[in-house]
């Protein structure tokens, strides 16, 4: 038998069956017993008066501000996973960029051709104009450094990185004190690599580039990587772009490579003191040649006394490849922009002549016409 309420078709109608009045009564008593103990505060009317007395606009603004605070809190909660994901992504990107930047900037710069502007920028008496090498540009040293790093040992790599970092810190303002204004020097002194036990070499040897030796054929005639079998090494200052000398045999003097610049004996071999170990102001035993301004005296002396070829060839890549490259070891501070001016023109012209067949042929023809022995005019570049 169906009841009246069961005949109704709205939802939930069937639940109210007759006979559950006791349940309703129980619920009514339970609710009253739970709520009758609640006593509101006595200042209810005062609160209502205060709310009524509050201007409508202020009350609305206050309510709006409260809602906005809640809304901002909700938005923050909603966006928290997104923020965390964005932070993780940005951290990863920053790490990769930092790694790329570190790899890119930690490469040791090497020598690049000096510009005429820089060559002429020095004074005539201090000898600064004799600085004939300068730090290479970033792209240039990057290619060179890639070639070097492929064949160097891990220890050498670490050293290069460490010292090149020092160079980078100094080269940020182009490293040379005389090129910076005193104000800049006072504000930004030379800095060593953070955490390095070595001081800044550019600061201790501010003219390190003058004591470096730059065989031009190594600078401008670099073979392809596959054609080079003997690894290069750079001397201490070459890490900052001076020159490249052959890798000595283990146990031998690392700086005992032949340099002939003596008028007394054509076979004399001089071992220049590395610039990094010289005291300040001493540019080595050979720097007296160019201690005058703009290299004039050194050039005259060179022209007068002549250049001597090295009696021993270092085991360079050219040597190992069997290339006939009679080379002359220059002091870079006798290099002048004036170029060879005499019959013993062993001075390198700057910018250098192109190492091409046409150039070589032209120089030989000119040498024959002028009765200049071939190999003198183009000495240092190509036989």
């Amino acid at each position: 038998m169906r009841t009246t309420s069961e005949d109704r078709d709205w939802p939930g109608a069937g639940s109210r069956v007759p006979g559950d009045g006791d349940t309703e009564e129980v619920l009514r008593r339970a609710l009253h017993s739970a709520a009758d103990g609640i006593e509101p505060t006595a200042d209810g009317l005062t609160q209502i008066f205060r709310r009524v007395a509050t201007p409508w606009l202020v009350r609305q603004v206050w309510l709006l501000a409260t809602d906005c605070v809640d809304l901002l809190r909700l938005i923050t909660i909603w966006l928290q996973p997104m923020f965390a994901r964005a932070v993780s992504v940005l951290t990863a990107v920053a790490g990769s960029v930092r790694e790329v930047f570190r790899r890119f900037t930690s490469q040791a710069p090497i020598a690049a051709p000096i510009s005429s502007r820089q060559h002429r920028s020095g004074t005539g008496t201090s000898g600064r104009c004799l600085a004939t090498t300068r730090p290479a540009g970033r792209g240039y040293c990057g290619r060179r450094d890639d070639r070097d790093r492929s064949a160097q040992s891990d220890r050498r790599k670490d050293r290069i990185l460490r010292e090149s970092k020092c160079w980078q810190l100094c080269a940020r303002w182009r490293g040379s004190r005389h090129r910076r204004s005193p104000a800049v020097s006072a504000k930004r002194p030379h800095r060593a690599r953070p955490g390095s036990d070595k001081s800044c070499l550019a600061r201790n040897h501010r003219r390190w580039w003058q004591g470096c030796y730059a065989p031009p054929f190594l600078r401008h005639a670099m073979p392809a990587r596959s054609a080079r079998s003997v690894p290069f090494r750079t001397c201490d200052n070459a890490l900052r772009g001076a020159h490249c000398v052959p890798q000595p045999e283990p146990g031998s003097d690392s700086h005992a490579y032949p340099v002939a610049f003596s008028p007394a004996s054509s076979s004399s071999v001089t071992s220049p003191t590395p610039a990094s170990s010289r005291p300040r102001g001493d540019r080595g035993s050979l720097t007296h040649v160019a201690s005058r301004g703009r290299g004039d005296e050194g050039r005259e002396r060179t022209l007068r006394e002549g250049c001597r070829q090295a009696t021993e060839r270092p085991p360079t890549w050219a040597h190992s490849e069997g290339l006939e490259t009679p080379r002359l070891w220059f002091l870079p501070n006798v290099i002048s922009s004036a170029g060879p001016a005499g019959p013993d023109g062993c001075l390198m012209r700057w910018p250098p002549r192109p190492r091409s067949v046409a150039g070589i042929t032209a120089s030989r023809v000119l040498g024959y016409l002028l009765a200049i022995p071939p190999g003198v005019l183009a000495v240092g570049w190509e036989a």
């Binding site: 709205w10 939802p11 939930g12 109608a13 069937g14 639940s15 109210r16 559950d20 349940t23 309703e24 129980v26 619920l27 009514r28 339970a30 609710l31 009253h32 017993s33 739970a34 709520a35 009758d36 103990g37 609640i38 006593e39 509101p40 505060t41 209810g44 009317l45 609160q47 209502i48 709310r51 009524v52 409508w56 809640d70 909700l74 909660i77 909603w78």
Partner: protein, 153 residues
Amino acid sequence: MFGEHYRALVRMAALLVGDVATAEAIVQESFVAMHGAWRRLRDSDKALPYLRQCLVNRSRSVLRHRIVIGRNRSKPKPGLPRAERQALPLPEHAVVRALRALPLRQREALVLTYYGGLTEAQAASAMGISPGAVKSHLGRAVEALRAVLGTET
């Protein structure tokens, strides 16, 4: 009107929102709203239904806001006591716990009908729904409470 209905309205709002302070605020706001809309009330007898309707609407807003807050709130550690349980001044009665577990409309219908003593039409007017919907919500609420109370007893 305040002396006559304020306390009952606060208790009713406390049953709805589960918090006395919030209930007082809701009732006070309802009185303020009624004060602002007094000129629009053509009949003074409609002031109390207006108050009940304001109370139900504001309680609904508060509960919805709490639902959103609780949905996005981080989960507390299992050993820590719940803050909302500490903030609830109502006695831990079985009916109160069961009432808190009910849906919003069923809770409103149950409180207005059984505690407020309203008819289904009055409750429907206060809730803004039809009397049939009130009966439906009421029946489901009683069924749920019966199951809960039967289990606990």
